[in-house]
């Protein structure tokens, strides 16, 4: 909700605070409410209820759609941002962060002071947070959501502090919570008081999500639940600072490429994208991108890709800082497939594709692949040669021409019989007399893709008087009720 608020403020059309606004997501029976703002909460609107019901309660309700994927991505970024307090952070579900602050709280002056600091920093980002410190993941989860504000819980008081909280704090799924409520166990303390044996008997087959006993053990620290931190990807970037502004970065490129590739090699990585950025003295920035079809860390190859592109940089009044950054960094293992140290063929080929794509643009270099379709123009797809090759479709059994026209060319025909091939046709202002023909091969429209009025095609391989073999088709039939007389097109040429 607050992320949405920030976005709207940035766009300049943030609504005033007193209008109730909710974010909705798709539920089983229409949209349900995902998050609410303060005004909506005051009107008694709760997350999880249906939008139509809440409209009845509060007619002036404004509904926007939530963006869960964006929320998750923002939270992932926040995980790395939270490394300012401790080195070990991880995302917890859809709406939480877990920070392992063991040994780092004294840097902020104790745990309580650390929580105040965190809340202040997060509020500077425009986010509100509920914070708690506890010895285990489970206890911290429960205390942050259901406990007092900024509660700090020592190792020996976990049981006492958790006892008063509702069973929802055990991170159980909805059915188990309902079951525990029906059993009369409303607080975590009540669950703790039940003899362990009877609970074990009841939940012996339940998984972790539905097992209150295991969740309780996790919260009390009897069952280990380690925090697996994610690694921030290192950025590979080199720069060269110049004493005075220059206009042409070419003399600096080989050294930059070498330094970058050295850094990549030491990390065992390769890159698929490179960005050359120049920082101009007039405060502007311009950049050039190149891409490769396979991960590489070869400085001469990368330098060669910039060959003609550097001229496109607009130097303005000159620039005094050049940076080269590697993008799409992937792990790469150097391979040697011949004992005599010769380079392998695949490598040459990917480099050729890189050079051609860098010069003519990635859309000019394509790789045709077969697709599953009977319509001739759909049986062949173009994929960028830079992209990885997907699985190809089945091979065509019928005879197909060597050349295909991008747009079939209409011809005027002279019929011998209405259903057969033409006796002669005029194509590109030349009259071709049909000497021999093979066909027809009927190809019906693909009704799941085509518009309803699409007509079928009858393909003929015809040979004219000079011996040229042409692929003709008639679109539609006489009296098929889909337009007037059928039209004829040339679609390809046989060898």
């Amino acid at each position: 909700m607050e992320r949405w608020q920030r976005v709207m403020e940035r766009q300049g059309n943030a609504p005033p605070d007193d209008i109730p606004i909710v974010l909705a997501r798709e539920g089983h029976h229409g949209p349900v409410i995902h998050a609410t703002n303060r005004a909506a909460r005051m009107n008694g609107i709760n997350p999880g209820s249906r939008v139509v019901d809440m409209r009845a309660i509060c007619p002036e309700l404004q509904v926007e759609y939530a963006d869960p994927a964006g929320d998750r991505a923002a939270l992932d970024r926040l995980v790395l941002w939270a490394r300012r307090w401790c080195p070990w952070t991880v995302r917890d579900g859809e709406d939480g962060l877990i920070l392992d602050t063991t040994g780092s709280d004294h840097l902020m002056g104790g745990e309580a002071a650390m929580l105040v600091e965190m809340e202040a920093q997060l509020s500077l980002l425009g986010l509100s947070a509920q914070l708690a410190v506890a010895p285990t993941w489970g206890a911290a989860w429960a205390l942050a959501r259901f406990g007092p504000v900024r509660s700090v819980c020592g190792l020996d008081e976990v049981g006492v502090k958790l006892g008063a909280l509702p069973v929802t704090g055990l991170r159980l799924d909805g059915e188990t919570v309902l079951l525990l409520r029906r059993l009369g166990l409303k607080t975590i303390g009540a669950v703790m008081d039940v003899p362990r044996l009877s609970l074990t008997r009841r939940f012996v087959k339940a998984g972790l999500e539905a097992n209150p006993l295991m969740r309780l053990d996790q919260a009390l620290g009897k069952l280990a639940e380690p925090v697996a931190s994610v690694d921030a990807k290192p950025r590979f970037r080199v720069q060269s600072r110049l004493a005075e502004p220059i206009f042409d970065p070419t003399p600096y490129l080989p050294e930059l490429c070498e330094n970058l590739c050295e850094a990549l090699k030491q990390a065992g990585q390769g890159c698929r994208r490179l960005q050359l950025t120049v920082y101009r003295t007039d405060g502007d920035v311009s950049h050039v991108d190149v891409a490769t079809s396979a991960t590489t860390c070869d400085p001469t190859h990368l330098h060669g890709l910039f060959r003609d592109k550097v001229e496109r940089i607009n130097p303005g009044f000159g620039f005094d800082l050049i940076t080269l950054e590697a993008g799409s960094v992937e792990e790469m293992q150097a391979r040697q497939n011949r004992l005599d140290g010769g380079a392998d063929d695949d490598l040459h080929l990917t480099r050729l594709v890189d050079r051609l794509s860098a010069k003519f643009g990635p859309r000019a270099v394509t790789r045709p692949v077969l697709r599953e379709s009977h319509i001739p123009e759909r049986a062949e797809g173009q994929v960028a040669a830079l992209a990885a090759l997907a699985g190809t479709g089945a091979a065509v059994m019928k005879e197909r021409p060597l050349r295909l026209f991008d747009h079939p060319e209409e011809v005027r025909v002279l019929y011998a019989v209405p259903e057969g091939p033409p006796a002669q046709f005029v194509w590109r202002r030349q009259t071709h007399r049909v000497a021999r023909y093979a066909g027809p091969e009927r190809i019906a429209p693909e009704w799941w893709k085509d518009r309803p009025g699409t007509r079928l095609r009858d393909y003929f391989k015809v040979e004219d008087q000079a011996g040229r073999r042409i692929w003709l088709y008639r679109e539609g039939l006489h009296e098929d009720g889909r337009g007037g007389d059928p039209r004829w097109f040339v679609h390809g040429c046989f060898a």
């Binding site: 010069k359 040229r468 073999r469």
Partner: protein, 225 residues
């Protein structure tokens, strides 16, 4: 009737050093939409799974269509490069000939652009010989001017061979080949019949009249080199 299996001869070439390395050849077409030259070039390329770099300029693509993978056969991967200027086509072909992993480089150039002169073709020919990659220039609406191509062909379609099962259908394709400039072999004119299923190209001298028909075999043998 002289017959030969082109791909066997081409496969044997790689072992023999000397003048029979792959090189630059040119194919001229009397009519632009004729696909005979494409069929002949594909039949002459060694049958491997190495990809073919196919460079087309805009007019060739518009006037004569693009190569169709379903007709060529999916076992032979293509890398298509669609460019607008003939100078770019030559640049891309030359760059492709630096790569020995290719099974062939085919360029289609429309007309007689000023960039396609003796120097440009000589560069292509020397690069093709250095990399031992066959390189073909398919020229449409062009006049055979000065060129360094080691072989220059004029190729047109002929009425097909009779179909074995269907009297009114065209059978195996036939082409008239005219080798009008060559460094390595005797010039000549042939009628070629190509069988795609077995990849077999049969050459026969054209029968001009009955008296000359006895010399056919010799002409075909000479073509084998």
């Amino acid at each position: 009737m002289g017959s030969l299996r082109v791909q066997q001869r081409l496969a044997g070439q790689a072992d023999r050093p000397g003048p029979m390395t792959h090189t630059l050849s040119e194919a001229f077409l009397p009519t632009a939409t004729d696909a005979a030259a494409v069929g002949f070039v594909l039949a002459r390329l060694p049958r491997t799974t190495a990809p073919i770099l196919w460079v087309q300029d805009r007019l060739s693509r518009k006037e004569a269509g693009r190569p169709y993978l379903a007709g060529i056969g999916a076992d032979r991967p293509l890398i298509m490069v669609d460019l607008s200027r003939a100078a770019d086509v030559l640049w891309a072909m030359e760059d492709g000939l630096r790569c020995k992993a290719l099974g062939g480089v085919i360029g289609e150039v429309w007309g007689d652009p000023p960039g396609l002169d003796f120097t440009a073709t000589k560069r292509l020919a020397m690069r093709a010989e250095a990399a031992d990659v066959p390189c073909w220039l398919i020229r449409r609406a062009a006049s055979p001017d000065l060129s360094a191509a080691r072989e220059r062909w004029r190729i047109a379609s002929l009425p097909a061979a009779p179909h074995p099962h269907d009297a009114q259908a065209p059978g195996l394709p036939r082409w008239s080949l005219d080798l009008f400039r060559s460094r390595r072999r005797a010039l000549g004119q042939w009628v070629a019949t190509y069988d795609g299923s077995t990849d077999r190209l049969d050459l026969a001298a054209p029968i001009r009249n009955g008296a000359l028909a006895t010399g056919d075999g010799a002409a075909g043998q000479r073509a084998a080199g």
